[in-house]
Symmetry: C2
C-alpha cells in the first residue's frame, strides 16, 4: 500500500448504503477524528443518525457540497454501496444541473471511470478525498484464513486460477469477482454484481448434493479507485456463497473491506466455508 | 480455415438437440453423402427421423458405437446442443462403464477439454471425426451484415471491445460470449450459456426505454474444438438479444454456425437488430 497522509482532525463522511459507513465513523471517532455525516436519503442505514449528520438526497449535489462546506470538512470519505437502479431515479437540484457537464457521462457497467470522475469532481470543489481504508484500515481483509476452516489444495488451485482471471479482465474495467470450481470458471461478474453472480451459481454447480466445491474470488481491478470503490464482502456474501455450494471465499488481502467481520466469520464457520485473504 | 479433407461417401451423424443436425444431414444428402443418424433420445429433434436413423440414449456408449459401426460409418460428425442438466441424468450401459476411465473427468463449466476428450475417444475407437462445418460450410456465418440493418460506429466500437475481451478470456477456457454496451462490459458468459447471459442483460441495460444499445459478441475460444463445439446462433438468440435491448449481434465469420438462417434474419429485421460476421 502507498504511504498514507496524516489523518485529519475533522472528516466529512458521504454515507451510502450498508454498515461500512457506520464502521468507518466508529473507527474515526475512536481515533479522535470529528466526523460529520452527509447521509444519502433512502440509501444510508438510519443507524448512521447516531453521528452528527444531515440527510441529503442523491442528486442534490448543491445541497451535498453546502452540507460538507458548512460542516467545515476539508477532507471527506465517500463510502457505502449504491445500487445501480438508485442512480436512475435521481431527484436533482440546481447544483446537479450546474455540474451536469461533469456528470453527463455517468454510465453503467464499468464503474471505474465513473468513480474516478466522482473523486475528481470533489477534488475540483476543493475537498481532499480520503479512502475509507485510510481512515479505518482495521476493516481491511488480513492475510490468511479468517475463521475455523482453511482452504484445501484444490481450493488454492481454484483461487490461483480465479485471481489470474480477474487480472486478465482488469483492462476491460470489469472483474471484481469470479467463481472457479475444480479448475473451471463457473461465472464472471460484470455489471450484475457479486450477489447476482453467486445466485446463478446455485444452478451451475455440477455435483449438486455432494461436497462443497468452488471459490468466490474478489479483488479490486488493477487501477480501481480504492478511495471510493473498495470491494466489500460481508455476511450476505457468505450466505450467497453457501447457497451456491461453494467451499469458500478468497479476497485480495489489504484491498477488500469486510463488513461485520465477527458476524461474517461466525456465519462462515457455521456453514463450514473458508474465508481467506491472499497476498496478490 | 485449414484445408479440408475430401468428404466421405458415407457419414454417421451423432445428433443432439436443435435444428443444426437436420441442416447438416440435408446439406450432406444434397452433396451425395449417405447419412446414418444416431439420434440422442430425448435431446435430438424428432424431425431427424426423416433420415435413416436409430435412437440411442445418452450414456449408452456401447450402443452408440455399435450403431455407428453396423451402419458402416467410418467418418462421423457429432452435432447439436446438449443442455448441461442432461449430462447429470445419464442412463449408462455397459459400454459406458467399460469406457468409464476415459469419461470420469467429465466436468461442467469449461467444456473445451471435455469436448476434446470426446473427439479423442471416438478417434480411439477408429472413427474419423469431421466438423459439421466441413460437411456443411454454408451454415457458417459469412462476413458483413446479414440483414437489413448495419452496425453503427458506436456498435463497431463495442464489437471491437467485445472481441478483445473474448480473446483475453480464451486462456481460461470460457468466453464464447459477452455483451458490451457503449464501451462497457455488461455481461460475460461462463458456464451459464448465452441465453442466460442475455436474460440478465434485460435488467442491466442502463437507458431502459430509450434507443437500443449494446452488442452480443460470439466467437469460439482460440483453441476450441470446432469439430464438436462450434458456437451457434439462431432465431432464439435474436429474440433474447431484442428483449435485452441490444442493438445487434456480432459473430466471428466462418467460425460460428447459424441455425435457421432465413428465419433468424427475418426476425432480426423485424426487431431492427443487426447481425454481422466479423473477420477476427
Amino acid at each position: 500500500m502507498d504511504a498514507i497522509a496524516p489523518l485529519p482532525s475533522r472528516l466529512g463522511v458521504v454515507a451510502a448504503g450498508g454498515t461500512i459507513p457506520i464502521a468507518v465513523c466508529e473507527v474515526a471517532q475512536k481515533n479522535g477524528i470529528d466526523v460529520y455525516v452527509a447521509a444519502i436519503k433512502g440509501i444510508a442505514d438510519p443507524a448512521i443518525e447516531r453521528f452528527p449528520h444531515s440527510w441529503v438526497r442523491l442528486g442534490e449535489l448543491g445541497n451535498l457540497l453546502n452540507t460538507l462546506k458548512s460542516a467545515k470538512c476539508a477532507e471527506i470519505v465517500i463510502v457505502g454501496a449504491i445500487k445501480r437502479p438508485d442512480l436512475w431515479n435521481v431527484g436533482v437540484d440546481f447544483g446537479f444541473i450546474w455540474h451536469l457537464p461533469t456528470i453527463l457521462s455517468l454510465t453503467r457497467g464499468g464503474d471505474d471511470s465513473l468513480l474516478k470522475r466522482v473523486v475528481k469532481f470533489f477534488e475540483g470543489q476543493g475537498f481532499t478525498v480520503r479512502g475509507a481504508h485510510e481512515i479505518a484500515p482495521e476493516l481491511l481483509a488480513p492475510s490468511g484464513p479468517f475463521g475455523r476452516i482453511s482452504p484445501t489444495e484444490e481450493n488454492h488451485h481454484d483461487m490461483r486460477r480465479g485471481f489470474a482471471l480477474l487480472a486478465a479482465l482488469s483492462p476491460f474495467d470489469i472483474g471484481q469477482g469470479a467463481v472457479v470450481a475444480r479448475g473451471h470458471v463457473l461465472a464472471v461478474e460484470a455489471a450484475e454484481g457479486t450477489d447476482e453472480m453467486l445466485k446463478r451459481c446455485e444452478t451451475l454447480q455440477q455435483w449438486g448434493g455432494r461436497k462443497r466445491a468452488g471459490v468466490l474470488v474478489k479483488a479490486p481491478k488493477s487501477d480501481q479507485e480504492l478511495r471510493v470503490d473498495m470491494p466489500v464482502i460481508g455476511p450476505r456474501t457468505v450466505e450467497f456463497a453457501a447457497k451456491a455450494g461453494l467451499a469458500g471465499i478468497a479476497v485480495a488481502s489489504g484491498r477488500v473491506m469486510i463488513a461485520n467481520q465477527a458476524e461474517m466469520i461466525a456465519l462462515a464457520d457455521r456453514h463450514e466455508l473458508f474465508i481467506a485473504g491472499v497476498d496478490i
